[in-house]
Symmetry: C2
Subunit: 168 residues, 2 copies
Amino acid sequence: MELAEGKQKFIEAWGKLGSEWGINRTMAQVHALLLISPDALTTEEIMEELSISRGNANMTLRDLMGWGLIEKQHKPGERKEYFYADKDTWNIARQVAQERKKRELDPVIKILNELNSVEGNDKDPAYKTFKKSVADINKLAKNVNKTLDTMLKADENWFWGSIFKIFK
Amino acid sequence: MELAEGKQKFIEAWGKLGSEWGINRTMAQVHALLLISPDALTTEEIMEELSISRGNANMTLRDLMGWGLIEKQHKPGERKEYFYADKDTWNIARQVAQERKKRELDPVIKILNELNSVEGNDKDPAYKTFKKSVADINKLAKNVNKTLDTMLKADENWFWGSIFKIFK
DNA sequence: TCAAACTTTCAAATATTATTGAAAGTTTAT
DNA sequence: ATAAACTTTCAATAATATTTGAAAGTTTGA
């Protein structure tokens, strides 16, 4: 396979995966493009390569910076801004995990805790089932939470090494 | 807090979480409703409770069955179909993990493997960066894949027990 | 066989989300 | 101070996803 074709496929695949995970397709594609690019790229180049508008490129790049996945770079003597992606896959995974935890898991855990204050009659099946489901999900959420916290602090080799030691 | 209010909040929260994860909000809400319901419900009751149309309810219930999260139930002497959700949180997590793995991770791993056949000159930085990124992501994807496979087979207590043993 | 009870389908309508592009804003060099 | 180079904003538009509801389909019992 040619490099050009491979790039296309990679950008496409990353974009699709992103959209399945609630991440805007363009954002995932820009990230893919920067991931496989050895040098930092300008907004202009990104617009060109992916055929997207200036506004879209600008917003997307801003979002990606917000996720901590790319950074601005300035070249001496140039006014243009260049963007480059962190190429360390483990960092990327951690960054994404951290953002999603903050935006999604944490709020859910908060609500689940609030739901502990629901009062009712223990003889009432509706109440009992509600309580049980909330408690069970709470437990699962907290386990996930704890595991993510560990992952966020961990070194890649240690993390997978530990996982596979038990999972064989 | 009153049970009715708690139910509302729970359904809302589950719906929001679902939509952040690329799962249709209604689908997550129907699942939430069935999760906290002690008895199986009819399409009619679900439509009523969530104010959704018959068509929507029908499609959503079909999807949820496709994900293995709910099942049809028939009551003797009745023509109506009742639906009930598996209440075991660990099963739910596994079911979701399995479906998403199948639909999303597996295809990506397939493409990443195809991208190994990209040919190029080792002196070319574009080629080198591409190769490296693809290889790194491939490695991560395979680790995740392996961990999910273990989880899919595992018993809940064993799984978390093992995780926390190493993660303290 | 018929009709009531129930379920499924799907084209059209609605709602949501993403994208464009031109205008406004900013920075820098002279 | 000004103009060129560059970035940001955002209302309008386009694309996508979801929902509706009425019609068609199915099953059951008399």
